[in-house]
Structure formats: structure tokens, C-alpha cells
């Protein structure tokens, strides 16, 4: 954060310095100011609760469905947050997700049985095919993340360009592998029924996966060295390099992490939707980046919040769900979601400027 000189008081008697140690009240209000986005989300939920017929929006099953359909975006947003905090950007996560899902899905199908069997819905060997497929998904994602990071650091090209290229490459390769349409058969029910639609203590399993990742990522980002190095690289890359930190290696690790998250998201995608196409993942990158930016992470790097990205992921999905329940035309919904995003980011910028002064 830059130190600002207050020109207007120059020449006047020096003021008593502000107490460095924040009082409890200041700390609470500070936290409140930072978490205004959470209250914004609560405000949305309250708004929809009050303006829809009772028993429609604020029901356990409806909120659970919102959480389920947001779980994939949250995973992508986690990886994207780390990348954006380094002042980079990853446009290829949708393509990496798709490619990983295709690889993992094809492996699962080929290992589960002959093609005659799987097309008829029989998966005799799915017990070991599914775990191997999951590993393949995650490995494929991480691999592409490594490719991204290596290209960016070795070729010294802007991340925007590199990841735009790998987006096209991964989408294309994925389409090549599965013949341009769907996987030949849906993935085994061991993954879809037992996990994707499966419930643990009354909540869908994928939601737990997203929640656990969220918690671990938050702790990592805030308290682990990895997170602090990430913020350091983003706020002052050259300065960080001069303290002896291997910045290039760290950047590669960050993009690999984003690829890893995309690989896990691919597993969730197969589990929830039973199949995959490139059409479904064309705008995943914008959804993830939108979530990160709404959440309060700066596109210029150095400042970020994982929890904020999760809240940012929920705002469009809650809005969309609420507007459908209110019978709003789907075209109006797009307008409202876009306007709300601009509003949220603008207010966050205002708050930031104020608190910097």
C-alpha cells in the first residue's frame, strides 16, 4: 500500500499520532467493512426470501441445489485467486477442466468394461476404474497448469496471451479425444449416483469437497508461506526476487495449483453432470474471474481473499435462482446479474479508496 503524504497539513503543528493498536471497536468495524460483501449476499438472500412465495426460495433443498451448482465455480475461483494475486490471469481453466474431464472420463469408461457393456449401462470394473479416472483427471489438470506456468516464466509472455492459447489448445484436444461430442457413454454410477448425487449427513458430497478445499485454501493463503509469497510476488515481483525468493518457480507452482483445482473441478463436473462437452465450459473462465473480482481480489495483484472469491461465486448463482423463482424473464436475469456485478465491484473500490485515505 503506498504511503500518501497529506499536503494540506504540511507546515501546521504535528498532530498526535493515531494509536497503532486498534481498539476492539475499530477492529470489529474494520472486519465489518471488509465483510460487507457477505452482508450484501445476505441482503440478496433476505430480499428473495421476502419477495417470493413462501416455501420456494428459502428451503433447504433449494439452497442446497444452489450450493451444489456453485461448487465447481468455487474450486475454479480458488485456483484463479492465487493466480490473480500474483498479478497474473488464467483464461484456460475452463479448457483444462474440459480436457481433464475427457481424459478421466475416457479412462473410467475404458477400464470399466468393454464399449458394448458401457453403452448398455454396465460397468463391471468400475470399482477400480473410477479412482484411477479421478487420479487421471487431477494429474491432467495439474500438468496443464505446469505447462501454463512454464510457458509464462520461460517464454516471458503475458499470462493473458499464454492462457488464451492453452484455452484453445485444451478445448481442441479434448474435442479431438472424444470425437467432438460427448463421451461415448455416461460415467459409471459409482461416481455419479454414489458421489455426485450422493448425500453425506443430508448434504450433497460435492459441497463437502468444495467446502474442505475452501478451508484449506484459505488457511494456506493467509497463514502459510506459500500464500504470503504469492501476495509478495503480486505486489512487487522485482522486490520479491531480490529477497532471494525463486519467483519463477513460485509462479509455476501457482499456475499448477490452478490446474490442480481445475482437475478436481473436472471430477465434480463428471460426477454431477455424468458427461461433458466443450460447449459447457466456454465461459468457465469468466465465471471464475468474475467471482474472484467480486470477492475483492485486485486484478493488479498483491491483495486477495479466498473467502471473498467463494462469496463472489455465490452472488450470481443466488441472483439467478431467485430471479427464476420470481418468474423474471431469463433475458432480464442476464441484465440484472451483470449490473449487480458492476455495482458490487464499484462499491468495493469505493470502500477501498476510503480506507486507504
Amino acid at each position: 500500500m503506498a504511503v500518501t503524504e497529506d499536503q494540506s497539513t504540511a507546515g501546521q503543528a504535528p498532530q498526535a499520532p493515531e494509536p497503532r493498536r486498534g481498539s476492539t471497536r475499530d477492529r470489529i468495524l474494520g472486519a465489518l467493512g471488509r465483510s460487507w460483501l457477505f452482508f450484501f449476499l445476505l441482503g440478496l438472500v433476505a430480499f428473495f426470501w421476502l419477495t417470493t412465495p413462501s416455501g420456494t426460495f428459502l428451503t433447504w433443498s433449494n439452497l442446497e441445489q444452489i450450493a451444489l451448482s456453485t461448487s465447481e465455480v468455487i474450486l475454479l475461483a480458488i485456483g484463479e485467486t492465487f493466480v490473480i494475486v500474483t498479478a497474473g490471469i488464467d483464461l484456460s481453466i475452463g479448457g483444462i477442466l474440459f480436457f481433464s474431464a475427457v481424459c478421466g472420463g475416457e479412462v473410467m469408461l475404458h477400464l470399466s468394461g468393454t464399449s458394448a457393456q458401457t453403452i448398455n449401462g454396465e460397468y463391471p470394473h468400475s470399482a477400480y476404474a473410477v479412482p484411477i479416472g479421478i487420479v487421471v483427471c487431477i494429474a491432467a489438470g495439474t500438468l496443464w497448469g505446469l505447462v501454463n506456468g512454464t510457458l509464462i516464466t520461460r517464454l516471458r509472455l503475458p499470462p493473458f496471451i499464454v492462457t488464451l492459447g492453452t484455452l484453445a489448445i485444451t478445448l481442441g484436444l479434448g474435442d479431438l479425444i472424444d470425437g467432438g461430442s460427448y463421451l461415448p457413454a455416461p460415467v459409471p454410477p459409482d461416481l455419479t449416483t454414489r458421489f455426485g448425487s450422493g448425500k453425506i449427513f443430508g448434504l450433497y458430497a460435492p459441497i463437502y469437497v468444495a467446502a474442505v478445499f475452501l478451508l484449506i485454501a484459505h488457511l494456506f493463503f493467509r497463514y502459510a508461506r506459500f500464500g504470503r509469497y504469492t501476495a509478495a510476488v503480486g505486489s512487487n515481483e522485482e522486490g520479491t526476487r531480490r529477497t532471494g525468493i525463486n519467483v519463477d518457480r513460485h509462479i509455476v507452482k501457482v499456475y499448477a495449483l490452478a490446474g490442480f483445482c481445475a482437475g478436481v473441478a473436472a471430477v465434480l463436473d463428471l460426477a454431477i453432470y455424468t458427461n461433458t462437452t466443450s460447449v459447457s465450459h466456454q465461459t468457465d473462465n469468466l465465471n471464475a474471474i468474475g467471482a474472484v473480482v467480486i470477492g475483492g481480489t485486485s486484478l493488479f495483484g498483491g491483495v486477495g481473499t479466498i473467502i471473498g472469491s467463494a462469496i463472489g461465486a455465490f452472488i450470481p448463482t443466488v441472483l439467478q435462482n431467485g430471479l427464476v423463482i420470481k418468474d423474471v424473464s431469463p433475458f432480464w436475469q442476464e441484465v440484472v446479474v451483470g449490473a449487480t456485478i458492476i455495482l458490487a465491484v464499484y462499491l468495493d473500490q469505493l470502500r477501498r479508496r476510503r480506507s486507504n485515505n
Binding site: L29, L32, G33, W36, F39, F40, G43, A46, F47, T51, T52, P53, G55, T56, F57, T59, S61, N62, Q65, I66, S69, D175, G179, G180, S181, Y182, P186, T192, T193, G196, S197, I272, Y273, T274, N275, T277, V279, S280, T317, Q320, N321, G322, V324, I325, K326, D327, V328, P330, F331, W332, V335, V336, A339, T340, L343, A344, L347, R351, R354, S355
Partner: protein, 330 residues
Amino acid sequence: MSRRLIVSLVALTVVAAALASSAALGAGAAKAPTAQKANYTIYLVAGIASDAFYLTMNKGAQAEAKKLGNVKVVFTGSPAAFSPNTQIPYLNGAIARKPNAILIAPTDKTALIAPIQRAINAGIPVATVDTFITKPIAFTNISTDNLAGGRAAADALVKAIGGSGDVAAISVNPGISTTDQRAQGFAQELKKYPKVHYLGIQYCNDDQTKASNQTSALISAHPNLKGIFAMNVVSGNGVTTAVKAKGKSGVVKLVEFDAGPPQVQALKAGTIDALVAQYPYGIGQQGVFEAYQYITGHKAGIAKHYGTGSAIITRANVNNPAYKKYLYTP
């Protein structure tokens, strides 16, 4: 000072969100059913909301609702893409509203099975329109007989090329039930014409440029190519471009599926020779009708599948009022 600002910012954003949504809504919130006669609500979840096909289907559904008198049809669906990832959140919203029935055009044969089952478990009967899912849990399916459509396309193309020559087909992706059936019907029917040689089918992945390149290659490789069957709008656009670029307009005849406004214009302008029009208006009408039958207790008479027809639209009959109902009117 900053404290007050933060608090007022929070209040402002909540109010602003409320106002923005209310302003956008107009007459958004649904009213409670009136006491005199039971009002029924049916949700129509499109495959993609920005497609002339589904918008026409909605028109038919609304017309039937008006005819029945006490039915309200709500049209929803993702305007962004034809995919389960974008469609399922809209279906979830519809389920949360607990309508009396849901009509849905599933964007994937298997991905929509679990969500549709959830709707049925919640007590909402579901019918599938246009596309289908592989598990027979919907109370009925209403779709175009795509096999018959493919056959009709073959007849129309052979007629257009004068009975002999080479023909080819451009489709979207292998694995989409609708286009696969059209291709099957087309190939089957062509066997009846010994003087017509079928060069085979190519897949353009719903990419206009690819379809155009494939068509150019076909024209160069087969000088006796007389006709092409394009199985959807996107492939048709690509074929038209290539035919014009190669200077073969009028020589290579084109039959295309779907009769949206741009296709009808192209038909009248002479770049397309025949359109295979599905009957989405009829699908919408029948969907609402069957749902109404189901809701009001007449379940026994409902069949598991209704095939709606398709019509061949040519320059000769495009202005004929009998064929007007087949043209898509978004």
C-alpha cells in the same frame, strides 16, 4: 467518518440491489391462485432460451394455455448455451417454485436424469419435449419424428436435383439423438433412388467455418455433386457460404433442417431449395395439453410418446397459409 460510510454503504447496496431487481421485474411476483377456479402453472424449460425453435414452442404453449383458460405457462431456460451446466440451475429454480407440471427439453440424455427425478420426487410431473432422456421417468415425450424428417429431406433433395447425381450430408456431432436420427432416415430413404449416389456424412461440430470448408472440399473432389443435406442451421449456413464462394449456386441444391426467419429468407432468395420444418408450435401446444390432462386426473389416456410431424417447405408453398404454421416465429 469512515464507520458511518461503511454502514451506509452496506445499507445502500442492499437497497440498491432490491431496487435494481424490482425495477427489472415489472410484474414479476406470482399472484396466489384465485378462489373461483383452480389455476395451474406449468414451467417450460427450454434447451436454450435464445433459439427460434424454443421461442416458437413457447408461442404454441402460450396459445394452448390461453385456450384452456386457467393455465399459466412460464418460459425459462438459459439464453447462453445449450448445455446441462447452464440448464440445470434454471430447472432447479422451476422445481423450487413447485409448479403443477414441468415441460423440459433436456440438453443431455443422462445428465438431466437425476434433476428430473428430483422434480418427480417433489411431486411435480415432468414431460420431455424435443429431446429425451434415456430413463423413462417422464410421463410423456413429445418430439419431432426425426427419422421421418430425414426421409422427407431425402425425398425433397432428390426432387430438387432432378433424380440423379451425387449427394452428401453435413451434420453436427455424432451422438446427438435428433441429428443422428435425421441422418439415419436420410440414408435409409436414399436407397430407394438407384440413380442417386450418397457420398456419406461429415461432422462439422456445429462450426459454420468447418462446414464451409468441408463443403468446398466436397465440391472440388466430386464434380458430379448435385445436392447437400445440412442437418441444422449452423451447418446450413456454412454450406451456403461455400456453395456461393465456389460459384455453384443453383447447381448444388441445398436442403436444410429448421425453418427460422433467416432460413425462410434464404429459401425465398434462392440460396436454399427446401426446408424441413419441424413443428415446435405444435410441440408446445401438445405439451401443455398433455400436462393439463395429467394434472386434472386424466392420466390413463396419455401415451408415452407423441411424434409430431415435419413439413417440407419450398419456394412453391412458402406463402401457402396451410404451411404457415410450420414456420418458426420467435
